[in-house]
Symmetry: C2
Subunit: 437 residues, 2 copies
Amino acid sequence: MHIVLLSGGSGKRLWPLSNDIRSKQFIPIFPQLDGTHISMVQRVFRQIRQADPTADVTIATSKSQVSTLRNQLGDAVDISVEPCRRDTFPAIVLVSAYLHYVKGVGLDKAVAVCPVDPYVEGRYFTAVHRLTELAAAGTANLMLMGIEPTYPSEKYGYIMPASKNEVSSVRSFKEKPDAATAQEYIAQGALWNSGVFAYRLGYVLATAHRLLDFQGYEDLYAHYGELEKISFDYAVVEREQSIGVLRYAGEWKDLGTWNTLTEIMQEHTIGQAVLDDTCRDVHVINEMDVPVLCMGLKQAVVAASPEGILVADKGASSYIKPYVEQFDQQIHFAEKSWGRFQIIDVEDDSLTIKITLNAGHAMNYHRHAHRAEVWTIVRGQGEVIVDGARREVQAGDIIELPCGCAHTLRAVTQLVAIEVQLGPDIQREDKIKEDLP
Amino acid sequence: MHIVLLSGGSGKRLWPLSNDIRSKQFIPIFPQLDGTHISMVQRVFRQIRQADPTADVTIATSKSQVSTLRNQLGDAVDISVEPCRRDTFPAIVLVSAYLHYVKGVGLDKAVAVCPVDPYVEGRYFTAVHRLTELAAAGTANLMLMGIEPTYPSEKYGYIMPASKNEVSSVRSFKEKPDAATAQEYIAQGALWNSGVFAYRLGYVLATAHRLLDFQGYEDLYAHYGELEKISFDYAVVEREQSIGVLRYAGEWKDLGTWNTLTEIMQEHTIGQAVLDDTCRDVHVINEMDVPVLCMGLKQAVVAASPEGILVADKGASSYIKPYVEQFDQQIHFAEKSWGRFQIIDVEDDSLTIKITLNAGHAMNYHRHAHRAEVWTIVRGQGEVIVDGARREVQAGDIIELPCGCAHTLRAVTQLVAIEVQLGPDIQREDKIKEDLP
């Protein structure tokens, strides 16, 4: 199957483990046998591959997430980058155009579009696979996945199917109702709208050519910022008569809050943490390298990262967003395609950063207009290039990078460096990419 | 008056704000008009000076606290260092010998001995002053300060005075009783034993020469480790018939636990912290430079430092000690006579440290047998000496310190450096002091 994962989201609700670069789907919370943890996006990607080993996965996302995606998924996925934020219709058209014009997927092929972060069992993606088959077979122009409700939720939109059959046509859609109305809908056989849908590529591209003025992918990409903002619901769903729904019964959750995230944690603690005997229903995720000690807490979540520390009653944690919006601070850590960085000290005219490059990876060759840097290699082996001059480096070596010089660092083995940035005007944006000599 | 402050204590109960170097009396918690905070020892020192501007203050302590004391109190106090831990009698003899033989205080002069960290009003030290006057006048060989009990505490020893007069002789002492017995004692006019006492120097030194074999201060210091371990109670108090007590009524607290410490905090938060509207009776002390966000907490204390993070129900926080003893980690920050240092990154074969030198101060001239270091100056101006060669430095300068070289850094203005330590065997103890060339 061809599956498109929509990867977006801001980093407010799961602060401090998420930030403007690390959205919630990138937080490592699922334990592996080797003691490491994988993220939601890594788990979903693995589930898709298990449901369909030949699945062709494309991630539609913004520029800011590309490095993290490459870090977490490597080169096994295609990434279709939105040059800027428009609405859902342009976004789905862009990735559909990418599939057809860039990857050469035929117009008669079906594509499933799916949020990147549902918390589901593996067989959910078997159902998504089935959804694409139904779309390919022409069951309907648009095939939706409907989730059997387990309670009258007020948080979801509802799909009213024409029948209670596993596959049915859709009679109507309902906006998020109150609980009593939700109860009525459910009695009538309503399903939760999961946000997953499948269509034949040609269907969406034909609609796109009717509504938007573009020639092929390059043209669409170049003029993306000028496209009208229309939602996929408005442009496609509301005008379509031929919509089908596939019923799915099974666990399906959005892990968008600390409350829901900790519900599915398989351990009470991740990272260095000690809970005393009187703690009840406490979850700790500690990404710092010093311990967290919890004593006598009930129904609480504690999360610590280089961005800050959250200590919250689980119920109260849902209201986090406005508080985090008050924190006007720079990003303190991020995963890059080549590894990760973390701010370890901030002074008025300097910033000290720990850089970890994965073996075989290199950062971009670049220079800075307004700052000098000093690298001290503290682990591993690799090479640096400074203004065209190549040099092998290893733990203990010091590399001075005067303001304006072009430089890069390449890891042979995993390489860790302490970078001290120096200057009166240090900005993350001050980075000029250069071609390697 | 001559007053001796006993400064000891481990750093377990107020972890993570205290550690093996920073005992509880050094934690900055009392807000000043300029927005900074002072510690218990700074507050006590100021109160003593206000009660008696000519007070001669000597602090009896161990080697490990000297740097912190110099950092917090400067050169305004004398420090008598115990070369190792014996019991209370040798300790009091040592500082008494220091006063007489080193400082030249006459044998007929009275000295008050006081724990370094009582939380009291300023007039408490007026009472201590009075106590020394009573001792000097020969009211008794040993004058104690007794606190009027405010409740039948099981935590304190009790003094049974012969009368209810302000100054009385002591009839007997009682060990920590249960609450019912405490109630009976109080009905009989008993007082809490505050641990403060005053005596004429000659009295303790005569007892010392009878029980211990030493000639003057130097000899006592040199053989201190061989002295018999005897408590002051056993050696002096239990054998003395002439003991008097001065009654004191007023606030008197030991801030030894998070519970008692937060009770006297004048603000709910120190450092970067946000509490939501539903927090009740929550105190946060955050010494990190990223925010702490608390939501929906009740009766809780949150403390964060480079050592770790504590989140505790206030009641549960009293049982912290065994948990902290599990943490077998190196010290992550300390105040030095010249400023402070803080570990900001730990790798197998490197340690990155932020060093802050106060203007006009310098670290010892020293070298390391097993590690190289790199200093990057990120703030201020000063000079370095490396193997005898002197050089002016300022923000942006890099100083390479190969393994074995002798080096020091001196601050002209406040100076901040990032120090990367490099080597397979980095130990805090690997420091060989050298004489400046």
